[in-house]
């Protein structure tokens, strides 16, 4: 259990412990959807929303259901099922009641059902023994951090596509991974500021 206030944790999750750039979680949709800023933004917002909500839901399920029943070793399965169900539910609701929103981010929701960053955030908050408030901050922060990373890469890729002639071997995921690596290096500069585990 770390004594760290929720606000600091929130910013730490965005910058020093960015879930994508330090833990390299959620790379698959990150590589697939980062071709342009618009869709990066859509996916990013979807991730922020889902990650924040599932972090809180999974916290409650873990401490009020799994722990009392001595079932904490089942958290992987339970968390995955809960995330999948939650995403499905959100998709149906958005599709029905907010069609405009659905066209912007709804179509990305099925993509993140199995996003490991979302499961990762839920598991980290258990391992690191965060409180409910800390979990909320961590979930939201990780989501925003993930969004920040994908928007940055989306912008860079858009720019590169327009202005540079790439060797064939560097096109697509290859260059994206290199860019991500350099961004991860840049984000390491923040890491002296706060340390969380």
């Amino acid at each position: 259990m770390i004594e760290i206030d929720a606000g600091t944790l929130f910013f730490a999750a965005i910058f020093t412990n960015n879930i994508l750039l330090t833990n390299f979680l959620g790379l698959c949709p990150f590589l697939a959807i980062s071709r342009e800023i618009r869709s990066s933004l859509g996916l990013g917002v979807a991730v922020v929303f889902v990650m924040t909500c599932t972090a809180v839901i999974n916290y409650l399920v873990y401490y009020y259901l799994l722990l009392p029943l001595n079932l904490e070793h089942f958290r992987y399965i339970v968390f995955i099922v809960i995330i999948a169900a939650f995403v499905q539910l959100v998709e149906m609701t958005v599709e029905r009641f907010f069609p405009a929103l659905y066209y912007i981010l709804g179509i990305f929701l099925p993509l993140i059902t199995v996003n490991c960053a979302i499961l990762g955030a839920s598991l980290f908050l258990i391992i690191r023994k965060y409180t409910l408030i800390q979990s909320l901050a961590y979930g939201a922060g990780s989501g925003i951090g993930w969004m920040l990373a994908i928007i940055a890469v989306g912008a860079i890729r858009e720019k590169v596509q327009k202005s540079a002639k790439l060797p064939r071997g560097l096109e697509g995921p290859a260059l994206t991974l290199i860019i991500t690596g350099i961004m991860a290096l840049a984000f390491m500069a923040f890491s002296g500021m706060i340390q969380i585990q």
Binding site: M1, S39, G42, V61, Y63, L65, L66, L67, L69, N70, L71, E72, F74, I77, V78, V81, I82, A85, Q88, L89, M92, T93, E95, R96, P99, Y103, I107, K129, T131, L132
Partner: protein, 409 residues
């Protein structure tokens, strides 16, 4: 904060207890009494876990089911087709499948995954904005003309849809596999009999059907793919398909390894705009592999209708063992003096003792086709082959609108 901290202390304690507990029992020195207690120790948590996990899953499933019946129920919607046919359908599903249920079959080679771009229709009213999943397949002109992928558009409101007139001819058929023939080690010929509807299929030689195979161990649902009809159009009740084995292909694997003679399956058709156009120009056909299928159908038409246009057929394969339908083609060559068949092998081996043309079909174009030849060209085969042939022919001065092709992805 305090509450949750206490909880966490409990959590670690219970964790440790459990670990100690599970270490202790030694199966060798168990008395009956001990065994009873061990059963309790193992069985109780097991049952409890099973119940809890099932409970959670059941609650979530129930929640989704309830949500599905309330949220995904869009009620009855109207689809106005080509300003003439008004369909009342159950909303909420992709347009492609909704129309399929109504007996209107839009071609689709990928089965609704949004990867083949065959299922284009025009949606003039309703349907919402173009989705990011569609944009890669639509040109700016198509977007302006309201073209959409029917597998991506869900029926959530009343729609006004325009489809090509001939799709009204498309029907679903129940078929029986009469005979499976080994044409080459890689290619099988399927002889099919149409059971229903009675009147069979009416098609133009060169068109294709969607052949459906049931769910089996490699797939999670029914899968269908497009195959050209290799037999003539005179017989409305029987068909021939030519199917090349694709490594890991869901449908071709079924056909090659699981399909049995006598099996009953479904297909829809006919589809496609690849068929002989009327003109007085010479005909040049170019095919590789199972691209032979539509050509055979067209040649059968040329024979049956006694079309007298000079016809040349370039057929490319790798080795002699890959050639098929040779007897039929030689018979046609003898019977029709205006028909020439030129097979070419790109990797002829020593044993083949091949004296015919060597190289790819593009070499044949280079060699035999004059500049600005007065020809209509029909090409069928892999996309790469089709593209290089079209490029070469255009360079030789054949107008693009006289080149017709069907790409086999």
């Amino acid at each position: 904060m305090a509450v949750s901290r206490r909880q966490k202390v409990e959590a670690t304690v219970s964790h440790e207890c459990q670990r100690k507990r599970s270490k202790r029992p030694n199966l060798n020195d168990l008395t009956t009494d001990n065994r009873q207690r061990t059963t309790d120790r193992f069985m109780l948590p097991l049952i409890l876990s099973l119940l809890a996990i099932s409970g959670i899953s059941a609650i979530l499933a129930l929640l989704l089911e309830v949500a599905d019946s309330y949220l995904a129920d869009y009620g009855e919607k109207h689809i106005l087709l080509n300003d003439q046919k008004d369909l009342v359908v159950e909303g909420g599903r992709p347009l492609l499948f909704t129309l399929g249920e109504e007996g209107i079959f839009i071609p689709s080679a990928c089965g609704g995954k949004g990867t083949c771009s065959y299922c284009k229709v025009k949606i003039h009213e309703g349907g919402g904005p173009v989705l990011p999943t569609e944009t890669p397949y639509l040109s700016p002109e198509e977007v302006k003309a309201n073209v959409r992928l029917s597998c991506q558009v869900k029926v959530k409101e009343d729609l006004k849809v325009e489809i090509p007139e001939e799709l009204f001819l498309v029907k679903e058929y129940k078929i029986k596999v009469e005979r499976i023939e080994d044409l080459t080690p890689e290619i099988k010929g399927l002889h099919l009999k149409i059971l229903t509807p009675e009147e069979g299929i009416t098609f133009k030689p060169g068109q294709y059907v969607q052949f459906e195979v049931p769910k089996y161990k490699m797939t999670s649902s029914e899968e269908y793919r497009a195959y050209s009809i290799a037999s003539g159009s005179e017989d409305h009740r029987s068909l021939e398909l030519v199917i090349t084995k694709v490594p890991k292909g869901a449908v071709t694997t079924y056909v090659h390894d699981f399909l049995k003679e006598g099996e009953e399956l479904h297909m829809t058709g006919p589809y496609g705009d690849f068929y002989l156009r009327e003109s007085d120009r010479d005909i040049l056909m170019i095919a590789t592999g199972s691209g032979m299928a539509p050509m055979k159908a067209m040649l059968q038409q040329i024979e049956a209708q006694k079309i007298q246009r000079k016809t040349t057929f370039f057929f490319g394969e790798r080795t002699k063992a890959d050639l098929f339908y040779m007897d039929q083609l030689e018979a046609w060559e003898k019977k029709m003096p205006h028909f020439t068949f030129v097979p070419t092998l790109s990797r002829a081996t020593e044993e083949d003792q091949w004296t015919g043309e060597k190289g790819r079909v593009t070499n044949l174009i280079e060699k035999h086709i004059d500049e600005k030849a007065n020809i209509d060209v029909y090409i069928c085969g892999s996309p790469a082959m089709v593209e290089s042939c079209v490029e070469l022919l255009t360079k030789k001065g054949t107008p693009e609108d006289r080149v017709y092709f069907d790409k086999f992805e």
